[in-house]
């Protein structure tokens, strides 16, 4: 078991339940890039909070999932399918009263960028916003 536990350190990567524990190991760059989901409503876009609107996902799991999907050969089709799934999940939880978010006409996945501020004062004003994928009803 000890050998299995240390092996991922040498071979790298996550092989659950073993791991090389690589998280937070790379030095942070001056530009922060994060994927974020926005719901499309009649009045514009609203940011979605994964833990509330798309449970049982939390933000890190959902965005890492989109990152992994983007590396696959069928990335475009699978990202669209995943966004449709997120939209239906949002609707299910809304219908069940799990959240009080507005009715959505669609959902968009963006890549947001910020120039890193030591105190995150610009967290509400990303310097860049790139649309990666969208699904509309």
């Amino acid at each position: 078991m000890r050998a299995a536990r240390t092996a991922p350190v040498a071979v790298d990567g996550d092989h659950w339940p073993f791991s090389s524990y690589p998280m937070f190991a790379k030095p942070r760059e001056p530009v922060v890039r994060l994927k974020r989901l926005y719901g499309v409503t009649e009045r514009g876009e609203v940011p979605l909070v994964a833990a509330r609107h798309v449970a049982p996902f939390h933000e890190a799991r959902l965005m890492t999932a989109f990152k992994r999907i983007a590396r696959r050969p069928d990335a475009a089709a699978r990202t669209a399918a995943a966004l449709r799934g997120v939209l239906s999940r949002y609707d299910e939880l809304r219908a069940a009263g799990a959240h009080d978010g507005p009715a959505l006409d669609g959902i968009r996945l963006y890549m947001l960028t910020w120039r890193r501020d030591p105190e995150a004062r610009n967290r509400e004003q990303p310097s860049g916003r790139e649309l990666l994928a969208e699904v509309l009803r």
Partner: protein, 237 residues
């Protein structure tokens, strides 16, 4: 005229055994003795007799924590209706051909896991209940890892479940021990009560060691800079 130099006997200190220079191979007998000492230390580290109570207490506390704090947060039932596009099984789930079961089955798995955790905590049918906790825990803890991201805390939990499933952790502080005490005397000390605790300790140390190695590999000394530490804290917000 000067006198002929008088020969004087040089007084030498008595012969002493000085240590051999560094790098000189030790004599075979000493090497064997050293190896024997290492083997003895190794065995003593893992298998020196220990009382059953500390291991039993660890079992009880660990399963109580899983039951009260972890199980309510990690429910297999929650993943029944998650879109299929997110299904990315871990190597272990793929090898075992495990998939997302229907919602009713997942709810049953959650209930059985909680029952196994409760029985393991109080030490009733300990071997069977800890084995069930391991088997069900593999599925309940592993299922969320198949949806995009691996939460690293769960791996160590599964390893501890594995250790406790094969260890004699129910010999004290348990209903099994209470029932057995009516038939026999106190449980003697044994190495069986030491190695599980040491193994989990070593596993925990290796977790932090691996995390440290990763920092050196990917970040080097720059990782230690205060600005990087601050950035790690600020970036998610």
């Amino acid at each position: 005229m000067s006198a002929a130099p008088q020969s004087r006997a040089i007084e030498r200190p008595p012969a002493r055994a000085y240590p051999a220079p560094i790098g000189t191979p030790a004599p075979p007998r000493r090497r064997r003795a050293r190896a024997a000492t290492l083997v003895t230390r190794w065995r003593r580290f893992w298998f020196a007799p220990a009382p059953p109570f500390p291991l039993a207490l660890c079992r009880s506390l660990f399963f109580a924590w899983l039951l009260l704090a972890v199980a309510p947060e990690v429910r297999a039932r929650d993943w029944a209706d998650v879109p299929r596009a997110f299904w990315m099984p871990t190597h272990l789930f793929a090898a075992l051909r495990l998939d997302v079961a229907p919602a009713a089955v997942l709810a049953l798995v959650d209930a059985l896991w909680s029952a196994a955790l409760a029985l393991s905590c109080v030490g009733l049918w300990t071997r069977a209940s800890t084995t069930a906790a391991l088997a069900l825990g593999l599925y309940v803890l592993g299922l969320p890892q198949c949806f995009g991201k691996i939460d690293h805390f769960s791996g160590l939990l599964l390893l501890v479940l594995l250790v406790l499933a094969v260890a004699r952790c129910g010999d004290a502080c348990s209903l099994d021990a209470w029932r057995a005490r009516r038939k026999r005397h106190a449980v003697p000390w044994s190495g069986e009560y030491r190695w599980p605790i040491e193994l989990v300790r070593v596993a925990m140390v290796l977790v932090f060691f691996a995390a440290g190695v990763a920092k050196l590999r990917f970040g080097g000394l720059a990782w230690l800079h205060p600005s990087n530490m601050a950035a790690i804290l600020v970036s998610p917000h």
